[in-house]
């Protein structure tokens, strides 16, 4: 079953078992044994220490408790496989190779909170994957494996569409706009029905824990960050890929497994609302407790490798410009603030007369924009810009004083950004 011609070869095949050909339901069931569990399922989930793999890293068991305690009969489990991060491919890869593990996990979550419906959300642009998951659902129906009503929905695949409130809003109103909410624990709803939204990878881990137990889950990873995680690695390497790694694996080792440039300038970690990490920290373990002191997080499992020839300012500019375009433009500070950050980064990259002023404006505008959107989209961009200004402070100073690096004019880019083609026609419905 394992072959070596696949590019998404993993070092730690748990979730990605069957990476060569998608697993059918019967293959899946023979590969992942059911082990009788001692304690309760929720207890196992607690003991596993699983945290959400969509970016926020919230403990899954806590979220389940909140929903479980919620009264009302019709609850929904939403599997979030929107994957709006352009550099992320993990949820798509996972659903392609092992849809039944994800669906099992979703069913476990549904039984834990007492939900009677599962909705898998996949970006509309990814028609093939949606079809694939629909086939897997049909297979479960045929084999009478389905425990709750399940369906696939395809909201438009924009960056903020994967944000929890935006997803929930789309499910009720067919508009992917993030919603403002007061800062307190909050149960999302679709037409009066409480919703538990979990990332596809998180669901797969839940499926695994339900089958093999918390102890087996914790046998890999660190104490504070147990288990494995999927990372999407791209940039200075031959081929972008998805790897499953034990949390706590040193970054250098991940680069080696991926066949990436062993001597990069920096890494972009977490996603496009994440942060830069300069190459002196390559021996840091890939786990939040180790990354936090150096100002980074695992976030949505994105690693972009920036080679020494690359221009960090140019890369940051491209990402921020794209993120600005992805703003849902509902909130002033986001709709006006993000494009102005992108403009200043362009001036800085060019290193002309006004570059020094642009740098000053960048710093002050970051402070003005932070925390003032309805969702965290602008905060992510601010974090990213700040980390660029900090990590690459020498390059930034060069640019500001009119000496942009050679790489800034080069056509070779490392951070993947989709073409800005929907500038005019924003699709929200």
């Amino acid at each position: 079953m394992t072959g070596n011609r696949d590019v998404t070869m993993t070092t730690m095949p748990r979730l990605l078992t069957g990476h060569n050909a998608p697993l059918t339901l019967s293959e899946y069931e023979s590969t992942f044994p059911v082990i009788a569990r001692a304690g309760s399922l929720l207890g196992e989930l607690d003991a596993s220490g699983l945290t959400g793999r969509g970016g926020a890293g919230f403990p899954t068991a806590q979220k389940v408790r909140l929903l479980k305690a919620h009264r009302g009969h019709h609850k929904i489990v939403v599997v979030n496989a929107m994957e709006g991060e352009p550099a992320s491919r993990k949820d798509v890869s996972l659903l392609r190779v092992n849809p039944h593990l994800v669906l099992d996990g979703a069913e476990v979550l549904a039984s834990l909170i007492g939900a009677n419906e599962i909705i898998v959300c996949i970006a509309r642009e990814n028609e093939r994957l949606a079809g694939h998951v629909r086939d897997a659902l049909a297979e479960r129906v045929r084999q009478r494996r389905r425990t709750v009503r399940s369906s696939v929905q395809t909201p438009p695949g924009r960056y903020v569409a994967g944000e929890e409130t935006a997803l929930v809003h789309w499910l009720s109103n067919r508009e992917t706009l993030p919603q403002y909410r007061a800062k307190r624990p909050h149960v999302a709803r679709v037409r009066d029905r409480a919703v538990l939204v979990d990332n596809a990878e998180t669901c797969a881990h839940v499926g695994l824990i339900a089958r093999a137990g918390a102890e087996s889950f914790r046998s890999l990873g660190t104490d504070a960050s147990p288990g494995t995680a999927l990372v999407s690695i791209s940039g200075a390497l031959d081929r972008s890929q998805v790897l499953e790694i034990a949390l706590g694996t040193p970054l250098r080792q991940i680069l080696a497994v991926a066949g990436a440039d062993p001597d990069p300038q920096a890494l972009l970690l977490g996603g496009y609302g994440g942060s830069w990490l300069d190459a002196t920290h390559l021996d840091t373990p890939y786990a939040n407790e180790a990354l936090a002191p150096v100002g980074a997080t695992t976030g949505a499992g994105v690693i972009v490798v920036l080679a020494r020839e690359g221009c960090a300012v140019a890369e940051t500019e491209r990402v921020v410009r794209w993120m600005a375009n992805e703003s849902a433009r509902q909130c002033g500070p986001c709709a006006f603030g993000l494009p102005s950050l992108a403009e200043d980064l362009t001036l800085l990259r060019r290193g002309a007369n006004d570059a020094a002023h642009a740098l000053e404006r960048l710093t002050s505008r970051c402070g003005v924009i932070e925390g003032r959107g309805a969702c965290h989209h602008p905060d992510g961009v601010v974090r990213f810009v700040r980390s660029a200004l900090g990590v690459f402070r020498d390059d930034v100073a060069d640019h500001a004083s009119g000496r942009p690096c050679i790489g800034s004019g080069s056509a070779r880019h490392y951070a993947t950004v989709p073409r800005l083609d929907h500038e005019g026609e924003l699709t929200w419905q």
Binding site: Y180, P333, G371
Partner: protein, 79 residues
């Protein structure tokens, strides 16, 4: 409206989706609301003591004066 004296603090918060950025609130409560370069309100993040009648009164003025009903007063219990 009588202001009851209670312990605890409140925050003035804006729903950025509703806000249209004409900055009425800044005129009504300049000590609580500044304005950014695009005209949108930047609300002080300092907690307002419930006992501070003057600040509370101007927060209420801003809430009532907001044409989009985007402002609200949120109470946070002190521990």
């Amino acid at each position: 409206m009588a202001v009851r004296r209670r312990s605890g603090v409140i925050f003035l918060r804006v729903d950025p989706v509703l806000c249209d950025g004409f900055g009425h609130c800044h005129e009504l409560a300049p000590e609580l609301v500044a304005i950014d370069e695009w005209g949108y309100p930047v609300i002080t993040t300092e907690p307002i003591a419930l006992a501070n009648d003057a600040a509370l009164a101007s927060a209420r003025l801003a809430v009532r004066g907001c044409p989009r009903q985007a402002l609200r007063i949120e109470r946070v219990n002190e521990r």
